[in-house]
Amino acid sequence: MAKAKEEEKNIKAYSQNFTTMTPGPFAKRMRTCVIWQFIRFVVINLKMIIVVGKSH
């Protein structure tokens, strides 16, 4: 049997997880890429500050 690609390795055909989306290797690498995540850190913080500000 051929080796499953990263994004399909845990999907079981027609089981309950067959209809969802799963990340590929690039998306997963970006999640722990320090430079990209530093940018996201700034962006997420700004978004959170706006929501916190609207809630007080």
Partner: protein
């Protein structure tokens, strides 16, 4: 001099008491009654539960902090509220029973001018046979609800990892232990932190990890799910959660009411009425919550608990408790001031207030068993409620009894939530989310019920950094260190 009594010293009670003490100054008295000697930053308990933090990392002694703030601290639990006084006196008071070693069992009557009930929940393990007795955790499962519970859980996890290193396969079952639980988020964080730790230990291949919860769909989280703006889409939290569960190889059972826990096995009923069993070697199941069981007593000694408290033990506030069927629910059902409708000097905040109804759509099995999450009232909303109630009471003490009350409806406030999916400064991840408003308003936002400009979510290392920073930031704030009032709830 007016006296404000705050029952409970958790996120909501501590916020209310500390702000009230600051705003009232020494001219008035703030008293905190809490059975605990320590304050616990509960969101970090999941890291204690996987051995990445110690109980000391997530707790601190309350006494020195309250001494610094000028707050009178009673290590005790509230037994009864007497809102009309007693024979011979009209002055309202609460009866408390001390829990510290030196005074254990002694009682005291404390008169008040204003009262805040912020007791948090009773961890109702006893609601599910085998899960525990009353508010005590049983022997078959573990918990991360308190720092001590989480510390115990980390030891049990360690034993499993040891067995796996010896080649034994282990089954992990994490989720909710009853059909009417809340706090799915804590279980969500714990299951992925366990998965992360097992991967780090090199034993992931020997673990079968399964989620069991009362949500009707994965990603409900007790708020009826949410649509998060990401990659240009408004993505349902169902897709978001299913994606993560699939990616990390975690199977799931949803719509489940766990009705029995035995050694190594749970029995459950599903929304379709079918029954099932699931075996485990390690299980963490969140218990359902109830009010802590404070009684209300009238002047003549008669029990008026049902005047002040809802049947589930939570305190009635300015919510619409007569909303009826789901089709009639509105955002305006949710309380704004948290004032008791019968006694205007009694307020409740955090988990202690009685919500008008659930946020998730109510569901039950064909057998009549209610299986749906109850509404979360923790974290940021809990802190905002505490501060708002304190603000209202301080205004009434300082400006007069007609001063307008401040408002903080969960249907008009948002929340920032960071759910850890594994701890590590370079390999950790967390789902960072904002939700606005917490309670969906389908009149204002037809369709998703929320403003998709302010409801977003993504998973990554940045989320973990934020969660880690918040750990230190909120402990700093709770210890009333320099600039604590500048840190938002």
């Amino acid at each position: 001099m007016a006296r404000l009594i705050v029952l409970g010293g958790g996120v909501s009670g501590h916020t209310a008491a500390t702000f009230a003490a600051k705003w009232l100054g020494s001219a008035h008295e703030v008293v905190v009654v809490t059975p605990n000697s320590k304050w616990n930053w509960i969101p970090s308990n999941i890291w204690v539960g996987v051995g990445q933090m110690t109980p000391e990392d997530v707790t601190f002694d309350l006494a020195p902090v309250y001494k610094k703030a000028g707050i009178t601290y009673k290590q005790a639990k509230a037994v009864s509220i007497h809102p009309n006084g007693k024979e011979g006196s009209d002055k309202e008071f609460v009866t408390i029973e001390f829990t510290d070693v030196a005074n254990a069992g002694k009682t005291e009557e404390l008169e008040y001018d204003y009262l805040i009930n912020a007791t948090g929940p009773k961890l109702n393990f006893g609601a599910t046979p085998g899960l525990g007795e009353g508010s005590n955790l049983g022997e078959h499962t573990v918990s991360v609800c308190t720092a001590d519970h989480a510390h115990h859980a980390s030891h049990e996890l360690e034993k499993c990892i040891k067995k796996m290193k010896e080649g034994q396969r282990q089954k992990f079952l994490i989720g909710t232990g009853h059909g009417m639980c809340t706090c799915q988020g804590a279980a969500f964080e714990y299951i992925f932190n366990i998965e992360h730790e097992l991967s780090k230990a090199g034993v992931r291949d020997l673990a079968d990890i399964k989620w069991i919860s009362n949500e009707s769909f994965l990603g409900d989280f007790g708020v009826g799910g949410l649509h998060m703006k990401t990659m240009g889409y408004a993505v349902s939290s169902k897709i978001f959660a299913e994606s993560l569960f699939t990616e990390r190889g975690v199977d799931w059972i949803i719509g489940a009411h766990v009705n029995k826990v035995e050694s190594g096995k749970v029995s459950y009923e599903l929304l379709d009425g079918s029954m099932g069993e699931e075996e485990f070697d390690f299980s963490m199941l969140i218990p359902p919550f109830a009010g802590v069981g404070i009684k209300a007593i009238d002047k003549d000694g008669s029990d008026i608990t049902d005047t002040i408290f809802a049947p589930n033990g939570f305190l009635k506030v300015d919510a619409n408790y007569a909303a009826g069927a789901y089709e009639n629910w509105k955002a305006s059902d949710w309380p704004k001031t948290y004032q008791n409708p019968t006694y205007e000097n009694i307020f409740a905040c955090g988990i202690a207030f009685a919500p008008p109804h659930t946020i998730s759509k109510p569901m039950s099995s064909p057998n009549g068993t209610a299986i749906n999450p109850t509404p979360p009232r923790t974290g940021m909303p809990s802190g905002i409620m505490g501060k708002t109630v304190a603000h209202s009471i301080c205004d009434r003490i300082l400006k007069g009894k007609d001063a307008p009350l401040h408002e903080a409806s969960m249907a008009e406030m948002g929340a920032a939530c960071v759910a850890s999916a594994g701890k590590g400064i370079f390999d950790g991840t967390a789902a960072a989310m904002t939700i606005y408003p917490v309670v969906p308003d389908f009149e204002k936002y037809p369709g998703t019920g929320r403003d998709t400009d302010y409801t977003f979510g993504e998973i990554g290392l940045a989320g973990h950094w934020i969660k880690h920073i918040l750990h230190y930031l909120f402990l700093w704030k709770a210890k009333l260190k320099m600039g604590w009032t500048m840190i938002p709830e």
